[in-house]
Symmetry: C2
Subunit: 239 residues, 2 copies
Amino acid sequence: MLVIMSDIKAVLFDTFGTLVDWRGSLIRQLTQFGTARGIAADWESLTDAWRGAYKPSMDRVRSGAVPWTHLDDLHRQSLQDLVQARGIAGLGAGDLDELTRFWHRLDPWPDSSAGLHRLKRRHIVGPMSNGTVALLTNLGKHADLPWDVVIGSDVTRHYKPDPEMYLGVCAFLALAPEQVMLAAAHNQDLKAASALGLATGFIARPKEHGPHQSRDFEAEGPWDVVANSVEDLAAKLGC
Amino acid sequence: MLVIMSDIKAVLFDTFGTLVDWRGSLIRQLTQFGTARGIAADWESLTDAWRGAYKPSMDRVRSGAVPWTHLDDLHRQSLQDLVQARGIAGLGAGDLDELTRFWHRLDPWPDSSAGLHRLKRRHIVGPMSNGTVALLTNLGKHADLPWDVVIGSDVTRHYKPDPEMYLGVCAFLALAPEQVMLAAAHNQDLKAASALGLATGFIARPKEHGPHQSRDFEAEGPWDVVANSVEDLAAKLGC
């Protein structure tokens, strides 16, 4: 499908990894928490394992193995399982709630806020994320991600890459898929969106997984725009 | 209930009338349309009648007399009925679609944008409106209403004053009702929200209905804040 860039009305962003540095932010927050509470743990390893549980936990919802579950609850359950498995002592229920909320306060990549501010002069900007309305709204405030609109997974009640998520967000915006661009650092996400007719923008985030990054160093499909930052994407869209 | 203003996390706005001048904006757009198309009609009277059909049309949904219907479709049906009843000729289906979209491009009151920009420095700002996600997002872009989040009636699938609308929006934000303030120019809206535990802010809009205004000249309940503009509300909330 030929995508005409001037027809793009909304540029929607994968958020974890594409706009915010979840790994660095969680390691920092968890380490601060551990220091303040005198709890010793390998917080870096825990962070990677926590994120490692993310996709499998959503896949259990997507497959119907478990009923619809809010992302905060998936995050909390994964954390609880990891804390138990690793024998990290001293964390009560309130602590698990607090740590789960760390996902609401992730720091942006250096170009994310400036790039969104540029894009929003001519486009609707928002997330296309598995985060929830509250998480993404809080993240927007924390990281100065100037969303025009926030349609979370708890609105569509589907997780990416379910078609219902991509198409549901387009429908809420009353836009055709070809009027919407997904911008993401993940080729699989772009592949799923592209198959449904959305325009695609790849933004390289080679440090998302720190020393463990093994994929998504570069565009692996015929994406409409390939950029190295959100500001670069804005420039390439003429903003 | 005692509302502690420092606990307010989100200030959400009734939109039609409170933030935007639907009447002046529609009269202007309809008059321009009529002039351009050579269609003579009393566009001012049509505007008042169109708005007059608004609440009854939602009440038919709220009562269950008709199934869930998107606000654009209610607006369009009301317009079609009025055009027929008034014998206004020359409007095709595409024209009715275009005129219905006029509700997505309403101009703000002079203080609305500046006031929201002030409030959003310390609060989540968004609509608490019977508008849809697309309408409210488009309105935000058109009128520079810098929403942090947009939860429309098509998300909750309820129209105010259904409790499900007020409480549904709070739930999506993961906030308790007492952490959310409804700001509105309509005493009945504030009364419904207050009964559910939300904080309340009245903003006088004595010109909303032009020469036909018959109510809501002043606060008629013990609202937490009474203001004469959004900027005044922001000041009274310490922003």
